[in-house]
Symmetry: C2
């Protein structure tokens, strides 16, 4: 299977610390790269993590708080300095384009590539990106301002053609795609070879969900059912539950409850408040509810 | 003498690397702190270098290229999150306020402190900041867009009152400031004690100049005459002199020539192009002309 990896570039909350950068992560599927959020310093984190700038064509911004957006202008500007010509697509609340326009007009007037801003549908769960192998859905969250989770899904894959069987029946090249899609094969003497003898099961279609920043939202669990990996914010511990409610964030326990409810296979918690010098208590709290939990950290790579 | 220190937070040029951050430095004089330029990631560099955010009340921006300004919005926003109430003064080209306004209105509408933008005089050398002990002058440089060097000077200081002599003559407290300013003392029996017997030499008034980004400018040398420490950009080596001219930057040799011409005591070079993995050749080149040269690096502290 081709790699499906999450590269954590920043998993701190609003106040950056020497331990955590502002939010950003790269989802790599094969040679495609999707950037989720772009806090200050993201371009430097991309360099530190040896992620090729030129493969980043789609940036998704969960919401318009500075710790998720302040790195955009620097990244866009650097793309320009590096001579980029490929279009850049930015998916975000419609206000982003308005707020960035004066900056882009002033600092980036010489860039040689187009930037396309795609606005989210403000109210409902919908597919906002789709190509031949992947869909990315926006899932409304509950934060102080409009905010979306992202659900990345591989599309159903083709079955594997069994090489020795294909050779035995001398299956011509032009028919192989159809057989991978499930067709039977009719040999020159009219014998029908059922697909099940020619192919084996397709690789599973994997999925990843990114939910930051948000109160725990039950409705989200339906959209994420059976997700392979869930990144859910856990800004606070249960002891700060009132503050979590007040600021529209989640506790580690609440994040774990969402993972359990959604039937996630694995949970990674992040968006840690700067008050924690050590996230171990958050991890312990989450694992009580959902044992297969890990803490995000800068430089972490999780394979699905 | 109270400390007069330069803290280098970033000394790379436009493309950030894993070795160098975008331009920013803090000039500390006693408990005053002045921030010169504010590239992306400056707030994190301030944290890493244990510089107190609350003592930063004055930010000077040399010119409006992103590698000198993109860290401002994050810093301003963080000041707000930390509950700052003290006014913040930003000295920059007048366009900065216009470009930042939509961002400030959107991201920082809840901050509880006022921001005052002070525009530079666009054409000539002038004093742009002055308090009881320090002046900061703007010195026009030559870059692709309007750009200024900053010359920080301590004002002349008071002479030191000799404690044992003052006690011997029973000089009352209320007269001591005048004596430190040069007055003689007349004792109760009419004897005139000349100031030279009561005081010793004032500490020297120190100075620091920051010149980034610029072609080497002869006229600048006059304004900087005898400066204690000069930070001058040296984006390129002599081998890239044509590129230096084209992009309105300086070579290390040219920076050293400016230091020599200005009669500087010490030179620190910075704003290194991302093409150099090792600045030793730049240093060697500068030292041929001006031996007392050092290379800037992130985390460097230079005392004057």
């Amino acid at each position: 299977m081709e790699p499906f990896e999450i590269h954590i570039l920043g998993c701190g909350s609003a106040l950056p610390t020497t331990r955590h950068n502002a939010s950003a992560q790269v989802v790599k599927i094969g040679n495609k790269q999707f950037l989720f959020d772009c806090g200050e310093g993201t371009q430097l984190q991309l360099r530190r993590n040896h992620i090729h700038f030129s493969f980043i064509n789609h940036i998704f911004i969960s919401h318009l708080h500075g710790d998720h957006t302040f790195g955009l202008i620097g990244l866009i500007s650097t793309f320009g300095l590096l001579g980029r010509t490929a279009p850049l697509h930015i998916y975000a609340d419609e206000m982003l384009e308005k707020v960035m326009k004066p900056q882009l007009d002033f600092y980036c007037k010489d860039i040689k590539y187009p930037i396309f801003f795609h606005s989210f549908n403000a109210t409902k769960h919908h597919t906002m990106f789709e190509d031949n192998t992947v869909t990315i859905e926006a899932v409304p969250l509950e934060h102080r301002i409009p905010c979306y989770g992202f659900l990345v899904k591989e599309k159903p894959k083709r079955r594997h053609l069994l090489g020795d069987v294909a050779n035995f029946y001398k299956i011509p090249a032009y028919m192989r795609q159809a057989i991978k899609d499930g067709a039977d094969f009719v040999s020159t003497n009219g014998e029908v070879i059922p697909n099940s003898r020619l192919t084996k099961e397709a690789d599973p279609s994997r999925s990843y969900a990114y939910c930051s920043d948000t109160r725990p939202v039950k409705a989200v669990c339906e959209h994420l059912q059976g997700v392979n990996l869930l990144y859910h914010e856990a800004t606070f511990a249960e002891s700060e539950k009132e503050r979590a409610k007040l600021t529209y964030h989640s506790t580690a326990r609440e994040a774990a409850e969402i993972a359990r409810e959604a039937g996630a296979q694995k949970l990674v918690i992040g968006h840690f408040s700067s008050r924690y010098d050590d996230e171990r208590p958050l991890l312990d709290e989450a694992r009580e509810i959902f044992p297969d939990t890990v803490c995000a950290y800068e430089g972490m790579v999780i394979s699905i």
